[in-house]
Subunit: 410 residues, 2 copies
Amino acid sequence: MEAEIIAVGTEITLGQIVNSNGRLLADQLRQLGIESHWQVTIDDDPNRIDQAIQQAWSRTELIFVCGGLGPTDDDRTLQATADALKIGLKVDEEQWQAIQKDFQRRQIPMVPDNKRQAYYLAGGEPLANPVGLAVGSFWQGRGHTVVVLPGPPREFKAMVTESLLPKLKALTGKPIMSRNMHFVGCSESELMDRIQEYLTTKEVVVTSYVQPNEVQVRLTVHGEARTEANRLLDQVEHDIVQTVGQHYFGTGNNISLVREVVTLLKAKHLHITAAESLTGGLFQATICSVPGASNVFNGGLVTYAAAVKEKLLGVPTDTIDKFGVVSAETAEAMAIHSKQLLNADIGVGFTGVAGPDSLEGQPAGTVWIGIAYPDHVESFELHLSKQLGRQNIRMQSVQRALLLIYHGLK
Amino acid sequence: MEAEIIAVGTEITLGQIVNSNGRLLADQLRQLGIESHWQVTIDDDPNRIDQAIQQAWSRTELIFVCGGLGPTDDDRTLQATADALKIGLKVDEEQWQAIQKDFQRRQIPMVPDNKRQAYYLAGGEPLANPVGLAVGSFWQGRGHTVVVLPGPPREFKAMVTESLLPKLKALTGKPIMSRNMHFVGCSESELMDRIQEYLTTKEVVVTSYVQPNEVQVRLTVHGEARTEANRLLDQVEHDIVQTVGQHYFGTGNNISLVREVVTLLKAKHLHITAAESLTGGLFQATICSVPGASNVFNGGLVTYAAAVKEKLLGVPTDTIDKFGVVSAETAEAMAIHSKQLLNADIGVGFTGVAGPDSLEGQPAGTVWIGIAYPDHVESFELHLSKQLGRQNIRMQSVQRALLLIYHGLK
């Protein structure tokens, strides 16, 4: 089934706020197997609302009109939708009583237009608003379903989840199953190129998404029974892990690499620390972003200047003089000394060039990561693109270190 | 002038990400007096891209097509736009050289489609991408202007700001002057309430925007001569600083609080350091996000556990035992000892409760910041809302410390 989402709101077309309702609804619809290929945003203008609805009517059977149900003059959505459908409005008497009570309780005067918030499309049903005053509408006729929803994100979310989804589930019924796989340390195009080569199962749709700190790959199966869908997903997931496993860190909807690492450390009763140069504390701050980080992290050092690497951390002056600050030897020494100083099980050293300028003849994006495990030390060189910019070079260095530790502990 | 913004991206229609590019562009256009009443989002489908462009062509003269310029199979925007306009594509040779160099330097193999990122609409001009590989297009013909822009928000923003806006300004010509004022440490509604009371100049439009680390207030004057516009802006800016100056840290388009603080430190030849508990390195990482941070920062400590505060930093066990970890005394001791240990001019101590659980009977959001200046020590207590969540409590603590230091040095 296809849907079209129309968002109404001058504050969106003026660029004052993002259209977060559109994202929420599209995501919910997708989980029901409903695709919304067209999403249109317009200002609070009755003519454009009419045009948008006519357009949507011509290309889809399920239409959502979101926003503009408030009591002020510029809230024109419901009347304009009724006009476009050539139908009238009805009062939800129960809601109208509730609105009057609410104003009495809050001891504030009502404006006549407050009654409008109890209106819904005649011939349809009101959609209850669990957290606000305006009801929504669920209208069906002439081969179409038209749904009207409020604009404030809190009300929108509550009405979609509690009042709308049960009705939509009854409309669809087609099973859909999907999984999210998570990757770090390679570009989306590189990843998808390598995956495509090995994919033989046509029943599984594979799509990719770039997130700030990772690439996500989603596997989706439409219209298969649960057991068969799981078998297909298992097979493709297995193939992908075989192909690009060194970048993979998990499958699920609410996972992040740092949470996986903290969970692993906790399960193995290991403490981690770091001495950070180019990342300037970002690795430790990322570890501390996970609730319960205190189970695996006591503290560490930011050793930005060479003198601090020597004085506070104890990296031998010889090492820096002989191999340079940006070197495997310095990264490993930073890892080893931080581990000793903090009495930890794992120490991580970061040294490199965040840019924009180069350092010791090395271009921005050159990074060495040293990892001192309980029984051995490793180091890795990254050549990140200078064009990523200082901040992304630092963020990616942290993610790459987390991935190395994840695979080192697995 | 009117514009239509077409966002292309299956990740948006599927509800995986919000269309933040649409907001940014609409906001920039509005400042130039260009209204975008229609904004359309579609998936990466050549037929729908064609339909969306035909639709937009019929109702507006300025059309933006955003997203889908990557090197993978599902990036179809440029070819589909060229087809819709019945024109061809051209290679930006300079960019093609740059792409090849970038891949060589990073020592990763190129896929054939990477060349596509150097294509632009024939008969138009390429729009430079300051931070990525794909060029944009600026095409004019048959009474219309068609602009093609990349999808990744970082690239989108850089191309809009640096490559597109100068061209659009030439298109419009209507004088508009604006200023961006920056604030930290109070909510948008609180700020605007206090500002509104004092505003008397109707010619200056005052709008506000919430950014991740600050609130921005924009002052705009339309259609006035330069001198008069500046006089009006000066007056309103002055009034606002008088009213809410304790939250203000500057006016401009490319300023951030941390850059202002690093600039001040550098001008005064001061070095800063920190000992961080709940912020876990985020303050130092924020300082290091500024290019040239090495002029003012040599390193510092993350002292998450009490034992590390004592052993590594030298905070007396007595202080922690007597006053608790979350106290003015501990924050000040952390500031003083970090300053001494790193031989710095200013030391900052962070201790508090990031949550979700409370600590020492203090709720999440309780934070103490100690600041040791060359000649005195100060400390400040924050009561941030628990509902902000762990990550925002940590980020806001860092911003509040930066604001305190900014005003301390000014």
